[in-house]
Amino acid sequence: MIRNFRFTSFLSAAKPLTSFACSSSPARHPPQFTSSASTPLRITPPKTPLFLRTPSHAAPLSEVLKWQDWAKDLASSVKNSSTKSEDSLDSILLLRELKWLTEDSITDDITRRELGGEKSVKLRASLEELYELWRERIVNRRPFQYVVGCEHWRDMVLCVEEGVLIPRPETELIVDLVEEVVRRDDWFRRGVWADLGTGSGAIAIGVGRVLGGCGRVIATDVSPVAVAVAGNNVGRYELQGMIEIREGSWFEPLKELEGKLVGLVSNPPYIPSDDIPGLQAEVGRHEPHLALDGGVDGTDSLFHLCDGASRMLTSGGFFAFETNGDKQSKMIVDYMNSDLKNIFSDVKIVSDFAGIGRFVTGFRL
């Protein structure tokens, strides 16, 4: 089933976006409703991240400092095991997260209490909730980004919640790759782009901002939670006129655009199924497996995307896919150079900042 709607209706639940200071700040006012939108499946609207909540709580400064000390002790107490396992908590990173949690939940103004003269602090969550949130972070290994409800990605702040993949720093580079192509040729700026498996909408919004006013981005995802969260993020950046979110599997919701796309980007699930049980707790226990599991060798979706790219891209169109690394990237390049021979040009592997062959890019002949 494919349903097609613009996600402005969820914004009704979004609280006013207060005190968000950032050079590229998103919309401060919820965008206008469009009455034409069909009714979404998802009943619960996207959650409001901590930093966008109204500071309706207050606590004495001494109590807030007590919470900070407790949280700091808890962070420092995690075993700083010399076993450099990917899965262990690291107190240095936790202390940095605690600083960010503080930034997101505590407003800067300290007011003097009328009685007793003790200073009080305005909070976006009650102190009890802050205790609970930090406990969840450390004891349950709940990802920090779900705890605060957002992730800073490129120059944006994206809302995330359980059910949606937290965008990774590596993926930021896909937007740079698109920017590079668009800068070289204005033709890319005016056409239709697609971001498949958009999750939080990260890539779609990044690309939308690169294209500026002229182009269009269609973002698809099969997960209704992702569709809702992406729609909310698109609205926060006031790009609902330019980015359309469609629910459905990969190319299915794009039928009318066959042979018309000027650009196709995707970070599909690419982890081999056998690796899923051994994932870092934050990832394996909390992020949706639908967003991670790429089948036996992790390439199920990637190969599907390659085939689709040959059908969907117009001549000269650009594609960029993220992969699990060197091995998968080589498999994709080989496939394109053999089974899909004479369909693409300039197919190549691009490394991420850690030197891993993370992306495959190319053009439709």
Binding site: I92, E151, H152, W153, R154, Q280, E282, V283
Partner: protein, 231 residues
Amino acid sequence: MAVAALFHARFPLIARRTSPSSVSYYCPRTLEFSHRLQSIICFSSSDGDDIVVSEGPNYVKYSDEDLMKQCKFETFRVSGPGGQHRNKRDSAVRLKHLPTGIVAQAVEDRSQHKNRASALNRLRTLLAIKVRNKVDIEAYSPPPELLQILPPKSTIRTSSSGSQIGPNNPKFVPGMQALLDVISASDGSIADSAKLLGLSTGALSRLILSHDGLRMAVNSMRAAKGMKPLK
């Protein structure tokens, strides 16, 4: 007082321990920095920081993109495949400017993109502080970027110099570099430099003291010549 500030005070610098993984890196276009420095003479100033004397291009004036092309950009990485496998907020970055070897890092921001921008800004300041371009004191004519950071009472300012650019403005950096070049060519003498810039010694000292990096650079230059630091 801001709680966040209070928090910073209570949490001393959170430093990284992991070392950068130096493999390859992404570069938007082909690397092409064949600019050869005609002469790079490195000497150690008193505090051990290397100063580079350059007769080559003035890197501080490069665009972000061009400067980035001369750099090796690395992330700090723990072992493992990364990408979807990992959720570690280690978006710390390290930028090494290959022609000079100057390294800038940033860890404090929440996105890698912003850390990269911070590191690049930091690199510009370091280049301004550490790379000395030769100037001919006899026939000195101050460049516009220097005029812009001088206080209005400077007699060499013209109406086209615009209003004074302060130390928090990114445009202060190229002016600061030109100022350091003058002071270096005057062998660290504030009085001589002030004369060239149409300022009183006091006014120039105040300008130097308005920026920490500038003050430290001038003082290490003076220390190398056995002169007293500005305070």
